[in-house]
């Protein structure tokens, strides 16, 4: 047993069960007497429903029950709530139309749930669902931002005129306009951020299990945040108090944001299990996931930078349209506002920024946070715009960035868009990345590639993000309807082993290892005597879950605070046992020592005394060694860094291959370097996927054209280069670990690095910008148009 504490690349404790097929995922769970639900979904993008004839389905073999929206309405089941409220420019609240669990009167996107059939087997439920007769009357669809904003567009919700959910702004437009009026140069870019389908490896699943005797409901679900689901579903949808509702999120096979939200199927199976008095299971099929999991991104923006003659950024002006889909998913409204526009300073000293965002309803699947959530949109816009500034001013793109970086001595740094950065060193991450990528040797590689008939390009992205969300009061003032602290309970057992109960939820991040390493470091307990428990509201005091790269910075900090309490209590017990003053007790390496003496007690001595309190300060101290801490972060954390992509394009076919990728990130304190590297690599894989391959494509009628793996291109191993990952860390100054977060940096920093490289490779064709994904067909069109023509894409 070597070094296992903070900084050790300990192998992941959880991988043995995952790699051996012994994980316990929701679909692996089967409850006695369990029935199966099949959700009948709309195959129309927009239609009224005159009526639903369930009679044939209800009589089909094995069918136990068929429920529609009318059944839920009769019992006053609420709609799915939205967890974040945004206000318009004029101060009025956003439009928040109902989001029924099962459609009532109208369907608004392909995949909108209409009815649920519950039967003895899944096959029977599916067979019976084909017998449902649904009286659709088709309506014209608004299947894109442009279609929904066009004059006379179909209205997705009758009560939302013009399909505008909100029209929000940040910054002082008049001031920014004034800066632009006097600027040396204004550089403008029109860009899109492509719509993505998350595609976690494990499709969503849910089991509702109602206990007739206790009146307690249990929901097993594929969630990143079981307590949040308990709160949302219990309080707003099904009206079940917390003491009667247990939510279990067991092993979860990837989330990337898509499993944050409270989905209709969770409410359906929970409610239905009480109606039919038997457990009810639903598991999504992959095709179903494409049209029922929240999608990501989908922005159209105009971005303008005002610069002086030296290329200093004077002001940034951005106008963005964000597609919300047909309904507001749980956290959708905050993504294109507070997780996006507040990031538009990036790592630059741009003194004034104005951004306005129109959020728009369309007849498409709801759009919400997906790995990076708002920050990839900001980073893509900004890092593309900076390259456009370099092109238009003739200033070298690296030099331009250096001139505009927030200097290392300027922290804490208040940006003009609300955020205050605590730490960072952008010159260093840039310098190391340039070195690791052999930036200076690139022109030779370009020349060599040309000799092989290939167009080679290199691109840089010096991104910044904000994660570790978030100070509850700040989030609340910005519209969050929840707190964003995290909870940890540390239980030191009588014989000294430790169980950590955390409100964070691991769905691939390796928490069981990283969090255990925090305990190794702080309490000196060996790794194999530490277990991490998560994902069950019956076991964990409370929790806000895992998203926004918050688990270590917020959840880990809660553990540190709880362990501080353990040590403080342990010192009192140790002082009693060793007849010393508490002030003289020191704790290190699992041992309490009386300072300046050789008297000591191990943590196990202390825990044993705490649980067998024969010789114990019982008048002053409760027995036991079990402490809980709620940690509310003081600020966001601000990882950043430099990503460099290098591509080769086959000019005959337009195919792009990313041949080198170099990341140097500042993620704060690293607990497990191997896990950090894996997280960054995975994020970059998804970022390269977004840049080159992935696109959710709807036709004008609102049918999803990329509705399966046959047409939606997930990145695969052969699409990816060897990814060179390194970190150059500055510590977060406001949490006890100094950690910032690493889960999303890859997906945030990499897309602009790839697109910048492609634009560089195609510079002789006059390419100023290219929207994602940079497919071979798009690139061939540019090449086919010939050199130096200014191609739009």
């Amino acid at each position: 047993m070597g070094f296992e504490g903070i900084g050790a690349s300990v192998r992941r404790k959880e991988d043995s069960r995952f790699l051996n097929g012994r994980g316990n995922y929701t679909d692996d769970i089967n409850r006695p007497g369990q029935l199966h639900a099949y959700v009948k979904r709309s195959d129309r993008a927009h239609a009224t429903i005159g009526g639903i004839d369930i009679s044939a389905a209800a009589k089909a073999p094995g069918v136990v029950a068929v429920f529609t929206g009318a059944d839920l309405a009769k019992e006053e089941i609420g709609g799915l709530p939205c967890g974040w409220q945004i206000h318009n420019k004029d101060g009025s609240p956003m439009a928040e139309p109902p989001h029924p669990v099962l459609a009532v009167g109208k369907v608004r996107h392909v995949g909108d749930p209409i009815a649920v059939v519950i039967a003895e087997t899944k096959q029977q439920a599916k067979d019976a669902a084909e017998l449902l007769s649904i009286g659709y009357t088709d309506l014209p669809a608004a299947a894109s931002l442009a279609a929904a904003l066009a004059p006379g567009a179909p209205t997705v919700h009758d009560e939302v005129a013009g399909n505008i959910c909100y029209d929000w702004q940040i910054g002082d437009k008049a001031v920014v306009d004034g800066v632009f009026a006097g600027a040396h140069k204004v550089v403008r870019l029109d860009l899109m951020n492509n719509r993505l389908i998350p595609n976690a490896m494990e499709p969503r699943a849910a089991i509702g299990d109602y206990d007739v005797n206790s009146g307690e409901y249990t929901l097993y679900t594929t969630s990143q945040n079981p307590h949040v689901i308990r709160l949302l579903m219990g309080a707003f949808v099904l009206h079940i108090p917390e003491n009667k509702l247990r939510v279990v999120a067991p092993d979860v096979g990837g989330g990337f944001g898509s499993k944050i939200y409270h989905y209709a199927e969770e409410a359906i199976v929970t409610w239905a299990s009480a109606k039919v008095r038997r457990p009810v299971k639903w598991t999504a099929e992959r095709t179903e996931s494409f049209i029922s999991d929240a999608h990501g991104r989908d922005h159209v923006s105009v971005a303008e930078m005002a610069v002086d003659a030296q290329g200093k950024f004077l002001g940034l002006r951005v106008s963005t349209q964000a597609n919300m889909g047909a309904y507001l998913s749980t956290f959708a409204p905050c993504v294109p506002t507070y997780l996006y526009a507040t990031l538009l300073a990036g790592c630059y000293t741009t003194p004034v920024i104005y951004c306005e965002v129109k959020a728009v309803f369309t007849n498409t699947v709801p759009v919400d946070a997906y790995r990076g959530a708002g920050r990839p949109e900001a980073a893509f816009l900004l890092e593309r715009l900076v390259d456009a500034v370099a092109l238009d001013t003739g200033i070298d793109r690296v030099e331009l960035r250096r001139r505009n970086f927030i200097p290392v001595d300027a922290f804490p740094y208040q940006t003009p868009v609300a955020l205050a950065y605590d730490s960072g060193d952008y010159q260093t991450t840039l310098r190391v990345a340039l070195k690791n990528a052999d930036w200076d040797g690139f022109e030779a590689r370009r020349t060599a590639a040309k000799a092989r008939g290939k167009l080679r390009g290199i691109g840089i992205s010096t991104y910044l993000e904000a994660c570790g969300i978030a100070p509850s009061a700040v989030a609340g003032s910005l519209g969050a309807r929840a707190g964003l602290y995290e909870v940890a309970n540390i239980r030191v057992h009588p014989t000294g082993s430790v169980t950590v109960f955390t409100g964070s939820h691991s769905h691939g991040q390796g928490h069981e290892t990283t969090f255990a390493q925090l305990v190794v470091d702080q309490l000196g307990v060996p790794l194999d005597q530490i277990d991490v428990v998560h994902g069950d509201t019956a076991k964990i005091p409370f929790g806000m879950g895992t998203y926004g790269s918050r688990s270590l910075a917020v959840g880990g900090s809660a553990m540190v605070k709880a362990m501080d309490k353990i040590i403080a209590k342990g010192k009192k017990i140790a002082a009693h046992l060793m007849e010393a003053s508490v002030e003289d007790i020191e704790f290190a390496n699992n041992t309490f020592t009386v300072a300046g003496t050789d008297k000591s007690k191990t943590l196990t001595d202390i825990s044993l005394a705490a649980y067998v309190p024969h010789n114990y300060p019982i008048e002053e101290l409760e027995p036991g060694l079990d402490e809980t801490a709620f940690y509310d972060p003081k600020n966001f954390t601000f990882p950043g860094g430099c990503h460099i992509g290098e591509v080769e394009i086959d000019p005959e076919t337009g195919v792009v291959q990313v041949v080198n990728f170099t990341a140097v990130d500042d993620v704060g304190r690293v607990i497990n370097p191997m896990i950090v590297e894996g997280q960054v690599q995975g994020g970059i894989a998804q970022g390269i996927g977004q840049a080159l391959l992935e696109a959710a494509v709807y036709d004008e009628n609102g049918q999803l054209m990329s509705g399966s793996m046959m047409d939606y291109t997930m990145p695969r191993a052969d699409n990816l280069p060897n990814i060179h990952v390194a970190t150059e860390n500055t510590m977060c100054t406001h949490n006890p670990l100094g950690s910032k977060g690493c889960g999303e940096v890859g997906a945030i920093g990499s897309p602009p690095a790839v697109i910048n490289a492609i634009c560089d490779a195609l510079k002789e064709y006059g390419v100023r910008h290219m929207n994602m994904p940079a497919t071979s067909g798009k690139i061939w069109s540019i090449i086919n148009a010939g050199p130096s023509k200014m191609a739009a894409e």
Binding site: K126, D127, T287, E652, T653, G654, L693, A695, V697, M705, S706, M709, M710, D711, Y712, T713, M714, N719, T775, S776, G777, W780, S781, N784
Partner: protein, 264 residues
């Protein structure tokens, strides 16, 4: 999938009888296309007649002909020393179909009988001038592939083997759909005793087709340079979210050129 009856006949005659007796019955070879179709409830056969018990596997090379039993898997063709020696391009093609799992289940007979417009084997069969043997007759590849997912096979007719004449030169190149990895454009070129033949899969609205302009250009000069200027009209080609018909038309030229160069 919907319920169906399942039969696994032990003789070709029984299989033909089972399929002939019921127009809703469907033959199953490797199932690499048909089972996903069933799982998506896109087909509702009365009976599945499994052809795996008919002894239709095996590869023989005699007198300038490679004969591959209809139920021979792609991996068997890809790994066959005899095929590699006689028509290396055919072995290479088989080794590039789908993924490892598909290659272990999928069969040549299933592939050509299904005639997916993006499948690989139809291009090889057409370019090499193969003969498709069935329970009742022999059909020239030129007559076999009649359109999207359609062939000259009669109801209940079972492919038993495919005979490929050995070509002097041959090669297959494909440009894959980035998502499905099927061919967006696949081109099989062959210098055969009947002259140069070029078959294109993935691109045509009617499925696999022979590129006669390229064949003419290659007739006197089997080299990539010979077809450099030969264009392909996008009019009869597919266009979808992955590739426009114009892009496909361009790719036909590029991929054909690469195939010819590879054929040497």
């Amino acid at each position: 999938m919907y319920d169906f009856a399942y039969q696994k006949p032990a003789s070709l005659a029984d299989a033909v009888k089972a399929l002939g007796a019921d127009s809703e019955a469907k033959a199953l070879a490797g199932g690499m296309t048909y089972i996903p179709v069933l799982k998506q409830r896109l087909a509702k056969p009365s009976t599945i007649v499994d052809l795996s018990g008919l002894g239709l596997t095996g590869i023989t090379v005699t007198g300038g002909t490679v004969t591959i039993g209809a139920m021979t898997t792609h991996v068997a063709v890809a790994n066959s020393a005899a095929v590699k020696a006689a028509i290396p391009a055919l072995a290479a093609l088989a080794g590039g179909i789908g993924d490892e799992a598909v290659r272990h289940r999928g069969t040549i007979g299933g592939s050509i009988a299904n005639n997916d417009p993006a499948a690989d084997y139809p291009a090889a069969a057409l370019a090499l001038g193969a003969t498709i043997k069935t329970d009742r007759r022999s059909i020239k590849a030129d007559d076999f592939f009649t359109g999207l997912f359609s062939t000259a096979l009669e109801q209940g007719e079972i492919v038993t083997a495919v005979e490929f004449p050995v070509a002097a030169k041959a090669a297959y190149e494909k440009f894959r759909n980035p998502a499905s990895r099927y061919a967006i454009v696949g081109v099989f070129v062959a210098q055969t005793s009947a002259g140069a033949r070029v078959a294109v899969t993935g691109a045509g609205q009617g499925g696999v087709f022979r590129h006669t302009a390229m064949e003419a250009a290659l007739a006197g000069n089997f080299s990539a340079a010979a077809i450099k200027g030969v264009t392909t009209s996008p009019a009869d080609l597919n266009g979808d979210i992955h590739a426009s018909s114009e892009y496909r038309a361009h790719l036909v030229g590029v991929i054909a050129g690469r195939a010819v160069a590879k054929a040497g």
